[in-house]
């Protein structure tokens, strides 16, 4: 009896669910009202049942009908019943129904108070969650009064999920029951500083709403909100706060200022987003953005800078940079100024100097930037100088001249030790002057400037460049002087070098010391030769011949690895294990330096070294502050009372000094303007000409007024060095002896993946299949009338489980629409059942776990449980899916049949001939035979076909006779003896299950009758 009830309720439970109802309504478009009234009758029946699942299903359907406009108020009590269920599934449905259907005049609401209170204190946060959500929709003054305390407690719940809901619902409670506001407010205020952003924004929301009703009471919160406004990154919250301030400003005018700021900030932020997609529309607001640079608020200025970066064009670059330079002068506080500096450089150098039309102007901007005190970005300017000078050939003469002046006035830059950052530019200046010394007007003067004693106060790596480039300059000077008849000038130059270089030889920096002593030695040798009147300039110049070229980081990739070269192979024997590992990496560098420099010193000149040591000793003796092994030589010099080492003059100016002889970048703006004017005029002339010629044709012509981006031709060309860099061709050294054949790594000798039988219909291949491969039974195509959907399926037995069969179905969308929400359903038979996930009913479909865009195919697998495998079977099924077009979607279905043949239960299993013989001898097997007539194919083809289509394997083959074997998923043995004579094939078969055997033989016959 009990069994019957339960069974009845299961069937009832899945009688008609919400989906069925919706489908039904859609199918009864003509008599919708009638259909729904029968549905409502059914629902009424369902509601009378005791089973809560059935009730919940009914209530869910009612909620849908309520939306369609049907009156469901009669079911209010049932809704409360479902709400009270202890199961979340039903509770959720119950509360949803309540929130949709209840309103203040619903009388059963009174009954819910205790249930809601119980749910609010439930240990499950989602129970509490649905209760709060529901309550927010149907809270009445009574409920608000009774539950206010419970909700207030929830505001301090441990889970932020509950806290934020509780905070939000408090607003509804306040509205219904204003007395609760006073006691709850302190806690609400606390929530403004909740660690969870969700709770925070909820609290902001509630207070904003409250403040809108009565702003005066919330004025005291303004500072707190201001703090939130400046710290919050959540735009939703920001908007709310601005609105709140909007409500407060009539009472407190000072707030306007801060509001304006936030709006400005947001505006700039928004613009930068727009800029990415619509640069043109933002560019027209250039002036406005430039104005923002004057703003008091640094964050607004920084945003404006970001915007400018994206706004520049060839046309406005100079103007924008000019404005920025003004700001650089005005800017106090190093961080913002540094930011400005980097932005200027970023703006100018972006995408390979795309926007720069005049590089002389750019160089002078860079030079002007060197006047900045205390910037950290000296190296940035330096790298720009180097980059431009190297890549823009036309600009070199100008750059060299500028750099020479810079070197000459180096004391202005380095005069103050605090300006250390900027002295990096001297690195670039020295290198440029040295490398391109042929452009120098007065190389001698520059050489002199580079060898000034003051240079020794510079950081080591800069000194090193100075020394190296002094040598280059020296070579140039020599060349120019040797041409003259008077040889003394050349000798004087050598003497200058010999006099000044020892200063660097004493440097604490190894690099400087090494280079200096090397060059000093060289110059001494040159001097000796000069005294013998030998012309030496050519050879000295040869030392520095050849042009240095930048190489792209990826250039190496372009050089093909020569054949036979294995880059991973050891060149030398790998280091022995015994060496201590932790010492290794350090040792490489620490040891190498002295190895190179020391011996060379001794080699070079013992005497000189001795002299130097002596001098140093003297110095140390005289110097009371000398500490042995001082890391920097600079201090030593500063404090030394030596004649040479007194700094020239320390000029410490508070006003940035204009370096004499440096051109102001402004003049370029003017020049550029003139140049463009000229170009434009020329163009106009041309155009006029054209217009004259074209007068008869269309009069529509581009207005030459505002020039477009492409019209501005750059004054200098940049060598754009990217991927197309010159390839380094010095790789010859990298050739090694090619590897012997035996040493080569084995590559893809095996690993040929077996082709899946589902894709390959060729019978030849089938014999080669690995036995493990599961069998294919049949391929079949189903084409829908509109060719929209195609399915190919393949049934495979499961080795592990004797009653399971896997069907893989390939879905292919052949139409133009998007297919989604596909549901695969099969009408189960007594014998075969589709395996459905736990919790779904026996008629539910399975969701296909993917969607199909047009032209895409995908495979899904479905598992079937089969009880008896001795008979073939056909299952009917449907595939329902949604076809989605541009703006409509339809629900469609496709019927199909799945054919489970007996061979699909067979699995290819290898068998040895002795085991096969034993099997036949055992006498357990029952025999049967079949004759095939008119088979017109070679015997091995025939066997392959049986193997492929029916999952057999060949045990033995002798001439025109073969024995074959297969096994079913439930362990039945199937043995075949196939003989052929002429066009007749006879198959004697034995199996422990005669029905199965009969069916298999029938299927084999079928296969051969088709061909």
């Amino acid at each position: 009896m009990a069994l019957k009830i339960v069974k009845g309720s299961i069937d009832r439970m899945f009688d008609k669910n919400l989906q069925d109802l919706v489908r039904g309504i859609r199918n009864h478009k003509e008599d919708e009202a009638k259909y729904i009234s029968t549905c409502i009758d059914e629902i009424k029946q369902e509601l009378k049942q005791d089973n809560i699942a059935v009730k919940a299903n009914a209530v869910c359907k009612l909620t849908y009908l309520q939306m369609l406009g049907y009156d469901v108020s009669w079911a209010a009590f049932n809704i409360v019943e479902v709400m009270s269920s202890s199961k979340f599934t039903y509770k959720r449905i119950g509360y949803l129904a309540a929130s949709q259907c209840f309103h203040e005049s619903t009388d059963v609401i009174m009954l819910t108070t205790n249930q809601i209170r119980k749910d609010l204190s439930s240990p499950n946060q989602y129970d509490t969650g649905v209760a709060l959500t529901g309550l927010s929709c149907f809270v009445t003054p009574d409920l608000a009064r009774d539950l206010a305390n419970d909700i207030m407690t929830l505001m301090s719940h441990t889970k932020p999920y509950i806290r934020k809901k509780a905070v939000l619902i408090m607003y509804k409670v306040f509205l219904k029951y204003p007395e609760s506001l006073r006691p709850a407010f302190p806690r609400l205020k606390e929530k403004l500083e909740d660690p969870d952003p969700g709770v925070q924004s909820a609290a902001v929301n509630v207070i904003c709403e409250l403040a809108r009703r009565n702003p005066k009471n919330y004025l005291s919160l303004a500072p707190l909100f201001f703090k939130l406004m400046t710290s919050s990154t959540n735009n939703w919250v920001l908007i709310k706060i601005i609105k709140l301030f909007g409500a407060l400003t009539p009472l407190e005018p000072r707030l306007v200022y801060s509001c304006v700021h936030v709006v400005k900030y947001l505006g700039l932020l928004a613009m930068s987003k727009i800029l990415k997609t619509h640069p043109k529309s933002v560019q027209s607001h250039k002036d406005l953005i430039l104005q923002c640079l004057d703003d008091k608020d640094e964050s607004i200025r920084l945003r404006a800078l970001d915007l400018l970066y994206g706004m520049v064009s060839k046309k406005n670059l100079m103007e924008i940079v000019k404005k920025l330079m003004l700001h650089v002068d005005k800017a106090e506080g190093t961080t913002y100024r540094d930011e400005l500096l980097t932005k200027i450089i970023d703006i100018c150098s972006q995408s390979n100097y795309q926007y720069i039309t005049n590089f002389e102007w750019y160089i002078s901007i860079l030079v002007e930037l060197t006047r900045l005190e205390g910037t950290r970005h000296g190296h940035l300017i330096a790298s720009q100088m180097l980059d431009v000078a190297i890549r823009v050939k036309a600009i070199r003469a100008f750059a060299v001249a500028q750099m020479a002046t810079l070197l000459d006035n180096a004391h202005l830059l380095t005069g103050n030790m605090q300006r250390n950052g900027i002295c990096e530019v001297l690195y670039a200046a020295a290198w440029i002057c040295g490398e391109f010394s042929e452009h120098l007007e007065n190389p001698m003067q520059t050489l002199e400037a580079m060898l000034r004693p003051k240079v020794a106060t510079l950081p080591g790596h800069i000194q090193a460049v100075y020394v190296q480039n002094a040598a280059k300059l020296f070579a140039t000077v020599l060349k120019s002087q040797e041409g003259n008849t008077d040889s003394t000038a050349a000798q004087e130059t050598s003497q200058l070098m010999i006099d000044r270089l020892p200063l660097f030889v004493q440097s604490a920096n190894l690099e400087v010391q090494e280079r200096a002593s090397c060059i000093l030695q060289l110059v001494k040798y040159i001097q000796k030769l000069q005294q013998k009147d030998v012309e030496i300039a050519e050879e000295v110049n040869a030392l520095f011949a050849g042009e240095l070229n930048p190489v792209a980081p990826k250039a190496q990739k372009k050089v093909p690895v020569p054949e036979g070269l294995d880059l991973d192979a050891w060149i030398n024997e790998p280091p022995s294990e015994s060496e201590s590992e932790d010492e290794q990496p350090k040792a490489i560098f620490a040891k190498e330096e002295p190895k190179h420099s020391r011996p060379r010193h001794t080699e070079v000149d013992e005497k000189e070294l001795a002299r130097r040591r002596e001098a140093r000793k003297q110095e140390q003796a005289n110097n009371p502050f000398y500490i042995k092994a001082s890391p920097s030589s600079q201090k030593v010099y500063q404090d030394t009372p030596g004649v040479e080492h007194i700094p020239v003059v320390q000029i410490d100016l508070s006003v940035p000094l204009k370096v004499p002889g440096l051109p102001m970048s402004d003049q370029y703006v003017k020049l550029e303007e003139e140049r463009r004017q000229k170009e434009r005029a020329e163009k106009k002339k041309k155009e006029k000409k054209k217009r004259k010629e074209k007068r008869s044709g269309r009069g529509k012509k581009h207005d030459s007024g505002p020039e477009s981006e492409e019209d501005i031709t750059p004054a200098h060309q940049v060598d754009i060095v990217t991927e197309e860099m010159p390839e380094v061709n010095s790789l010859d050294i990298l050739y090694f002896v090619p590897l012997a054949d035996s040493e080569k790594l084995p590559v893809r000798s095996h690993r040929e993946t077996p082709k899946s039988p589902a894709e390959d219909g060729d019978t030849e291949n089938a014999a080669l299949q690995e036995p493990k491969k599961k069998s294919t039974k049949e391929k079949r195509e189903k084409k829908k009338d509109k060719d929209r959907d195609r399915k190919v399926y393949d049934i495979q037995g499961n080795l592990q489980d004797g009653s399971q069969v896997v069907v893989s179905v390939i879905f292919e969308n052949k139409g133009d629409s998007f297919l989604k929400s596909m549901e695969f359903n099969v009408l189960d038979s007594l014998n075969s059942k589709l395996q459905r996930p736990d919790g779904s009913g026996p008629h539910d479909g399975l969701t296909v776990p993917f969607q199909l865009p047009p032209g895409v195919s995908n495979e899904a697998r479905f598992v079937f449980t089969v009880q008896s495998i001795i008979m073939p079977q056909k299952l009917k099924g449907t595939l329902t899916f949604i076809v989605k077009n541009e703006d409509s979607s339809t629900h469609e279905k496709l019927d199909f049949k799945l054919h489970f043949t007996c061979t699909s239960y067979l699995i290819t299993t290898p068998c040895y001939s002795d085991a096969f013989a034993k099997l036949l001898e055992s006498g357990d097997l029952k025999g049967s035979s079949v004759r095939l007539e008119g088979v017109n194919m070679p015997f091995h083809h025939l066997l392959a076909r049986i193997c492929f289509h029916h999952h057999f394997s060949v045990v033995e083959r002798i001439d025109s006779c073969a024995s074959m074997y297969s096994r079913s998923i439930q362990g039945h043995h199937v043995c075949l003896l196939v003989k052929t004579s002429g066009q007749t094939v006879s198959i004697d078969a034995k199996c422990d299950e005669p029905t199965l055997l009969g069916n298999v033989l029938d299927e084999i016959k079928q296969t051969f009758s088709q061909c």
């Binding site: 199961k87 203040e104 969650g129 989604k820 989605k884 409509s888």
Partner: protein, 159 residues
């Protein structure tokens, strides 16, 4: 926000959420009026309109209109953003959402809305958090069904 309505191009109501207590009769009248007014508007017209003492913000996504009623002082743009965020949530949850998803799983659409808005205010601005909450609740729901199923099965086998 006072209420939210979803309706099709044919004027069929697909989802309604009321954050103010109104009788069924009033609700029906309001939605009928609004649906007519909005459907009569041309596609090029703006997404806002003043209606009685409320501001209506609506937007069409494919065949569905999403329509919100907010108070006079509320911001239209943020309301539009709320609508869009809700559509994004639906899209994430259903995977390329369409009208039929909402019709057949209308309770899910409500659950998502309830996690996103509470009492007409945005309660969670993080998409991730909303979807996480829904996912967890769904999981809980499935567990209950499974539990029920197994209880029933037990009863069938050994009554």
């Amino acid at each position: 926000m006072q209420f939210m309505l979803l309706f099709s191009r044919q004027g069929k109501l697909r989802l309604q959420k009321w954050y103010v207590p109104l009788s069924d009769k009033e609700r029906k009248k309001i939605s009928r009026d609004l649906v007519q007014t909005i459907l009569a508007r041309k596609p090029k017209m703006c997404s806002f309109l003043e209606w009685r003492d409320l501001k209506i913000v609506y937007k069409r996504y494919a065949s569905l209109y999403f329509c919100c009623a907010v108070e006079d002082q509320d911001n239209e743009l943020i309301t539009l953003e709320i609508i869009h965020r809700y559509v994004e949530l639906l899209d994430k949850y259903f995977g390329s959402v369409c009208e039929l998803d909402i019709i057949f799983n209308f309770e899910k659409a409500y659950f998502i809305l309830d996690e996103f808005l509470l009492g007409g205010e945005a309660q969670e601005t993080s998409k991730k958090n909303v979807l996480k909450a829904i996912e967890q609740a769904d999981l809980l729901q499935e567990k209950t069904i499974f539990h029920l199923q197994s209880v029933l099965e037990k009863n069938v086998i050994c009554p």
